[in-house]
């Protein structure tokens, strides 16, 4: 029999500590939509997505009402579009159809305008990469990602060079909205095929036809639990985070199973990430401060984050039958009030942020920089993040926004994307390094076979 305290604890987690399921993401394979002509491909994509995801939003809302846990986002990820349009080209037409599908079924984002070029690029894939700025500028809900590196293959520096250029162009094309297009574009090392979170979600080719992946959240719940052990040592801190992560993940597991059943889709994975939002009481930065830092960015931040990230995984793994996606603490600057405050106070600089990305998911996320940042500096930032991911055998990513026409202050993207302070960066030229191109070889421990 459940105790009153247990029931009350669950109710409080939702009502005042922002416990929610951050996203139910339906992965849909588009491989069977490939046709001889672009218009036929587009028709098949439209029919498939609007059929498979027809009830996605309704089912999400039904589960929310029945179980009393908010399900914040319902989203769709699809097969990397560069694979779908390789035969016919005209990728922008597909981008527009995906955007239309998202609008029709009522999801806020659809991810998968993507390419996997970690080792090399076909001529078509190279052409595809240059369509990304237009695709993002001409759509509202489309998200794009490119995998440019992996532990097994090393870093494709030819692709890294192109990334700097297309981020700049995206910033220019969406300049009327503070370069918001860049907030919908992620460059990855070691991208995962079952990530439910945007902007980096795509439906991998090793996946089943239709899959439900769920991202849980709950930084507020973790913080409140830590507030109760002000004088506990760090072993106790880790144990407390583990227990909370277990409870949060159990909710995600239950929602994922229920959603898969009702939507007639395979249950894929639970992503154990602690995903913050810009509202007060939902911040990963504040968890680190609760551990004993004056402000995020102080020495000790990396160690606190390592403890948090590891304890979340340990607690969550037993709670779910399949863990996957990115699974770790997210540190998107613009989406976390604790991180925003730390940047504004001058306590959190890009170098510290880079160190933090070595031990958590995902990487330099939602970082705004000056609009006059040269493309090769952006490429070099990406190369550094890729190096961290490739050598540490983990996923890293860069979602950087060089805000066109602005070099200081902050920009507001609204909603979950939040408000990004423009961070000063080191603009010493890496130009010669980036222009060399070629590949950085895979690290020695890629050769495990």
């Amino acid at each position: 029999m459940l105790s009153k305290e247990e029931i009350f604890e669950t109710i409080k987690m939702v009502s005042s500590q922002h416990l929610d399921v951050r996203t139910i993401t339906m992965g849909i394979s588009l491989l069977d939509c490939i046709a001889d002509t672009t218009s036929e491909t587009c028709d098949r994509i439209y029919d498939k997505i609007t059929t498979k995801a027809k009830n996605l939003v309704k089912v999400g809302n039904d589960i929310q009402n029945e179980f009393g846990v908010p399900i914040v986002n319902k989203r769709i990820s699809v097969t990397p579009v560069s694979l779908v349009t390789a035969r016919t080209g005209n990728s922008i037409d597909v981008a527009k159809v995906l955007d239309k599908c998202a609008q029709e079924v009522g999801v806020d984002f659809i991810g998968g305008y993507s390419a996997l070029v970690q080792k090399g690029m076909t001529d078509f894939e190279k052409e595809f990469l240059y369509t990304i700025p237009q695709a993002l500028a001409q759509t509202q809900r489309l998200c794009s990602s490119v995998n440019v590196a992996s532990t097994k293959t090393g870093i494709n520096m030819d692709a890294v060079k192109i990334m700097g250029d297309i981020i700049k162009e995206t910033a220019y094309l969406t300049r009327e909205q503070d370069s918001i297009g860049c907030a919908k574009f992620v460059v990855f090392a070691n991208a995962v095929e079952d990530n439910p979170f945007m902007a980096g979600a795509f439906h991998g080719v090793g996946e089943a036809d239709t899959v439900i992946n769920v991202g849980v959240s709950g930084p507020g719940v973790v913080k409140v639990a830590l507030e109760k052990i002000k004088d506990g040592d760090l072993t106790e801190v880790a144990e407390t985070v583990k227990k909370v992560a277990y409870k949060i993940t159990r909710v995600g597991q239950m929602v994922a199973q229920e959603a898969s059943k009702r939507l007639n889709a395979n249950f894929g994975i639970i992503d154990l990430s602690l995903a913050p939002t810009p509202v007060m009481g939902d911040s990963v930065g504040h968890i680190l401060e609760e551990m004993g830092l004056e402000t995020v960015g102080a020495y000790g931040t990396t160690a606190c984050l390592a403890l948090l990230n590891d304890a979340v995984k340990k607690g969550g793994i037993m709670a779910s039958s399949h863990v996957g996606g990115l699974s770790g603490a997210f540190i998107p600057v613009s989406e976390d009030i604790g991180m925003i405050n730390a940047v504004n106070k001058g306590c959190l600089k890009l170098e510290k942020l880079e160190a933090m990305t070595a031990i958590c998911s995902v990487g330099l996320d939602m970082v705004a920089v000056g609009g006059d940042t040269p493309a090769d500096v952006l490429s070099a930032m990406i190369a550094d993040e890729c190096a961290i991911g490739v050598v540490n055998n983990k996923t890293t990513a860069v979602r950087v926004i060089p805000v066109y026409g602005k070099n200081s202050g902050s920009v507001s993207f609204g909603g979950l994307l939040g408000t990004a302070p423009i961070m000063p960066i080191n603009t010493t030229s890496p130009s010669k390094f980036i222009s060399r191109g070629g590949r950085i070889p895979a690290p020695v421990w890629a050769n495990k076979n």
């Binding site: 459940l2 029931i7 179980f67 009393g68 909710v251």
Partner: protein, 89 residues
């Protein structure tokens, strides 16, 4: 279906009577009931079984929310499995 109804707010006479008579109208069986003052709030928790009711979950849940608005209490009905998932291995 087993569900948990939680009623939270300021204590006053007649809360149990109003909630239970509404449930009786809809043929929802109350299996356990407890009340307490928790963190300065009157809190009543009912474990109920909706399987004999002709109304579906959403209808009963909506009726509870509406009753809450009428009597100035926060009333929620949730599928019990979320509590079991969170608190039982």
């Amino acid at each position: 279906m087993k569900a948990i109804i939680s009623v939270i707010g300021e204590d006053r006479p007649g809360i149990i009577a109003k909630v239970s008579s509404k449930l009786f109208e809809m043929n929802v069986n109350i299996e356990d009931i407890s009340q307490t003052i928790m963190q300065n709030y009157f809190t009543m928790i009912m474990m109920v079984d909706t399987s004999k009711s002709s109304a579906d979950f959403a209808t009963i849940s909506q009726a509870m929310v509406q009753l809450g608005q009428e009597i100035g209490m926060d009333i929620k009905m949730q599928n019990q499995s979320i509590f079991d998932a969170m608190h039982r291995v």
